[in-house]
């Protein structure tokens, strides 16, 4: 036995030493050929690849503005969001080096820990990117909190936002069902309950079954589901809410108990499907013609206009149906709205090797703003080549809604060959200025995106240590308890003991830490 263990240990060390020697990562210097300066990028989901059109077209356009650059992407090799970050984290943990510019879905904690980022400051941004800076501050005064390391408060990232605004989701109803029931869009939660009741009495799809319900929440609905109902009671579970400077978690507030009571009543009276949260899906039922509305999580404004994904899907399935985006209903105190993602979208940072080269960071910042403020570069980075990759939905117009042309309607192909994703998100256009991008938004979608006052996380979902420790377990308990109450397995009175358990198992500690974080960063 002893011989065996010693042998094994020696073999381990030997082979480990062999490949340790070969695994050190040497920093690479960007090659400079024909005078052009190479800029390396890492881009979320490889939204553009080294072979994409925009990777060469954009630098060509930038020459006009005085930039002699070449772009090179350090690819992770996948267009799938989850996979991308798995591979990125593996890369970081293996000692990989950062690129010059990193355009990612937020600062990644492993990257922060590995000293990947160059520190920047707001004065620097204001000086080199004045238009972007002014726009960002207008969207949300504290938006740069999203680009800071929660622990040290250092600023590492330029923050981007959604072009349709911090609020951009709305509720969607089957207009033809409302018409058939002789109802208007439900304005209050009482009206909405009426809608649910009446829906159960009509066989809309004529298949002889009472399989229609007015409302549902899916297993794939965000957080705890039923967002608009909670919103009508002034709360949003599983986000941090602030009232009078006090930070609390939505799921522990009394408004949630009220909402649960209403939902439990609806379930008991068979006004919502039996499979809520388990076998139901967010939106499929609506498309299949057996659900009368879908929650705002799915009502993403640009997807609801002609050419948008939800629109196209629905009408393919229900050519005779009519879908109506509309504001959701108000609760007993006049409160309404749903979960929103809030102002921030992605963050753009610079590699720490540039820390000692502030001139280069300046140049890169200026370049990013140049791309955003000039229409030709903006369009190249967001949409591609007009007439070939994209066009206005109404080709006669020169502003408004846009759409991609075949064969670039296919997601992977578009990313691989063109290097763009969609308006409000592409590879080389990480920051924008609204007077440029407003020209390319569908005005109807802009209209829809104003339908919602929005509840969003007061801490912008920035993770901090205590939340990392307890958050997941508490969230699981919350979702399970909520579903048990709604489906009648537990009484509504169970809510109080749930809150106590929540507090005792790290919830209280987490709330205190959240308060401290909020005071430090957002006050």
């Amino acid at each position: 036995m002893k011989r065996l263990l010693i042998t094994a240990a020696m073999l381990c060390l030997f082979t480990a030493a062999v490949f340790a020697a070969g695994s050190k990562d040497s920093g690479k210097k960007p090659a400079e050929a024909d005078g052009a300066q190479e800029i390396t990028w890492m881009i979320h989901m490889d939204l553009a690849t080294n072979k994409s059109w925009t990777t060469t077209a954009l630098p060509a356009l930038l020459k006009k503005y005085g930039y002699n650059v070449k772009f090179k992407i350090i690819e992770m090799g996948t267009h799938n969001g989850t996979e991308y970050y798995e591979k990125l984290k593996t890369y970081i943990a293996s000692g990989g080096a950062p690129a010059d510019i990193m355009h990612l879905a937020g600062l990644q904690q492993p990257a922060i820990d590995a000293n990947w980022y160059a520190e920047i400051n707001e004065d620097q941004i204001k000086k080199n990117m004045p238009k972007y800076y002014a726009n960002a501050k207008k969207i949300y005064e504290k938006i740069f909190a999203y680009g800071k390391d929660a622990a040290t408060g250092k600023l590492y990232g330029l923050v981007s936002w959604n072009m349709f605004g911090p609020n951009r989701h709305t509720m969607v109803y089957r207009q033809d069902w409302l018409d058939q029931l002789g109802m208007k869009v439900p304005a209050t939660i009482g009206d909405f309950e009426q809608f649910l009741r009446k829906t159960r009495t009509v066989d809309f799809n004529g298949n002889g079954q009472k399989d229609e319900y007015g409302y549902t929440s899916g297993a794939n609905s965000p957080l705890s589901g039923f967002q608009e109902v909670f919103g009508a009671y002034g709360v949003m579970p599983l986000v941090w809410m602030v009232k009078d400077g006090k930070v609390q978690r939505g799921e522990t507030l009394p408004g949630s108990k009220e909402a649960l009571a209403t939902l439990a009543k609806w379930y008991a009276e068979d006004l919502i499907p039996r499979g809520v949260g388990t076998t139901e899906t967010r939106r499929d039922g609506f498309n299949q013609g057996i659900r009368g509305s879908y929650g705002q999580a799915d009502g993403y404004a640009p997807a609801l206009v002609k050419g948008g994904q939800n629109y196209e899907e629905f009408y393919k399935m229900q050519p005779k149906g009519i879908m109506l985006p509309a504001p959701s209903f108000k609760g007993p105190r006049g409160e309404w709205g749903t979960l929103e993602w809030g102002p921030r979208k992605y963050s753009v940072s610079f590699g720490s090797h540039l820390q000692k080269d502030p001139a280069k960071i300046e140049m890169l910042m200026k370049m990013l703003e140049t791309i955003a403020v000039n229409e030709d570069t903006f369009v190249a980075s967001m949409l591609g080549e007009k007439g070939k990759h994209w066009n206005f939905t109404d080709p006669a117009k020169s502003s408004g809604a846009t759409k991609f042309l075949d064969p670039y309607t296919e997601f992977n192909k578009r990313l691989d060959e063109v290097g763009v994703r969609e308006m409000s998100e592409s590879a080389y256009g990480p920051v924008w200025v609204e007077d440029v991008y407003n020209k390319f938004l569908d005005p109807l979608a802009v209209e829809y995106s104003k339908h919602n006052p929005g509840y969003y996380d007061a801490l912008m979902t920035i993770p901090f240590a205590t939340q990392n420790k307890y958050g997941l377990d508490l969230e699981k308990m919350t979702k399970e308890t909520y579903l048990a109450i709604i489906t009648g397995k537990k009484p509504v009175s169970e809510f109080d003991s749930y809150v106590q358990t929540w507090m005792k198992n790290g919830g209280e500690e987490m709330t205190k830490a959240a308060q401290a974080f909020y005071d430090k960063v957002f006050k």
Partner: protein
């Protein structure tokens, strides 16, 4: 086959047995019928609720799209390559090792078996394996699909056990005639071990056919993707968590496309089986001594 007395009791048993097996088959067959039906359905028909036995509205578009996609065929080829190469190399190396380890006076036998057993349960994790591939220059190489899974302790144990049940007398007579162990192995033992060889080959084959995680971590080139990875990226996107994904005008591919892709990856297996089964039917064993 020995002659068996067919009592009434046995006949009843036979009938019940057959009935049970038939029900099992029907229940098992349903998901396949379901997927096939969906693969040939129009979009509305594909997501219709209820049983899918035969598409009410037929549409070949998805099947055509899948068969016409060069990406899929490339991934297919990659999967086939790794399955054939990987399985063959595995069976040979594992078989030889298991045979040697079944000989009771092999020097260092206990050490070697112990090392294999230990390695079955302890692994360094993703990062160390990734680094190993990198230092061996195997990143983005097809060999990174085949080498890391070359020999499994499990297979060694199963094969070793089988070899133990082969009577010594067969090998002794060959040894007396001066044959080396290699010759004995390939000429005598292997032909007698077809059931276990086929079993292990099946296990390795299926593993390679379904593998995708190693492909995900080690491969960046799209043209080296394997089939399962392609399928997963088509289907699993909906499971993305995190708020960012909500704004995704995500890749929601039509159900029928998913169905077609799955079908195309399971058909070869359905075709291979009937041929592989003959190796299970008759073991050529004389003596039947318990191992």
């Amino acid at each position: 086959m020995a002659s068996i007395k067919t009592s009434a009791g046995y006949r009843i048993f036979s009938i019940l047995n057959s009935a049970f097996l038939i029900v099992l088959c029907l229940v098992t067959l349903y998901p396949f019928i379901h997927i096939t039906s969906i693969a040939f359905s129009t979009y509305p028909e594909a997501i219709r609720t209820g049983l899918h036995l035969f598409p009410r509205e037929v549409d070949f578009a998805s099947m055509k799209k899948v068969f016409g996609s060069p990406d899929i065929w490339q991934a297919y080829y990659n999967t086939l390559w790794r399955t054939v190469v990987g399985t063959t190399l595995s069976v040979i190396t594992t078989g030889m090792a298991a045979y040697a380890l079944s000989k009771k006076d092999l020097p260092f036998k206990r050490v070697i078996m112990g090392l294999f057993l230990f390695a079955m349960y302890f692994s360094g994790g993703i990062i160390p394996n990734f680094l190993l591939m990198r230092s061996l220059n195997l990143l983005n190489s097809s060999w990174s699909m085949v080498l890391p899974s070359l020999v499994w302790g499990f297979n060694i144990i199963v094969m070793k056990n089988f070899f133990l049940s082969i009577p010594d007398s067969l090998e002794e007579s060959a040894q007396l005639e001066g044959a080396s162990e290699l010759v004995i192995f390939f000429k005598i033992v292997v032909p007698l071990s077809l059931p276990v060889i086929a079993t292990v080959a099946m296990w390795m084959g299926v593993y390679h056919w379904n593998a995708y995680f190693d492909n995900l971590i080690y491969i960046t080139d799209r043209n080296k993707y394997v089939l399962q990875r392609m399928i997963r990226s088509l289907i699993i996107d909906a499971n993305m968590s995190g708020m960012e994904s909500m704004n995704d005008a995500s890749i929601l591919s039509p159900e029928s496309l998913k169905g077609a892709t799955i079908l195309i990856s399971t058909i070869p297996i359905l075709l291979v089986y009937p041929f592989a089964q003959r190796y299970f039917i008759k073991g050529v064993m004389i003596g039947g001594v318990k191992g």
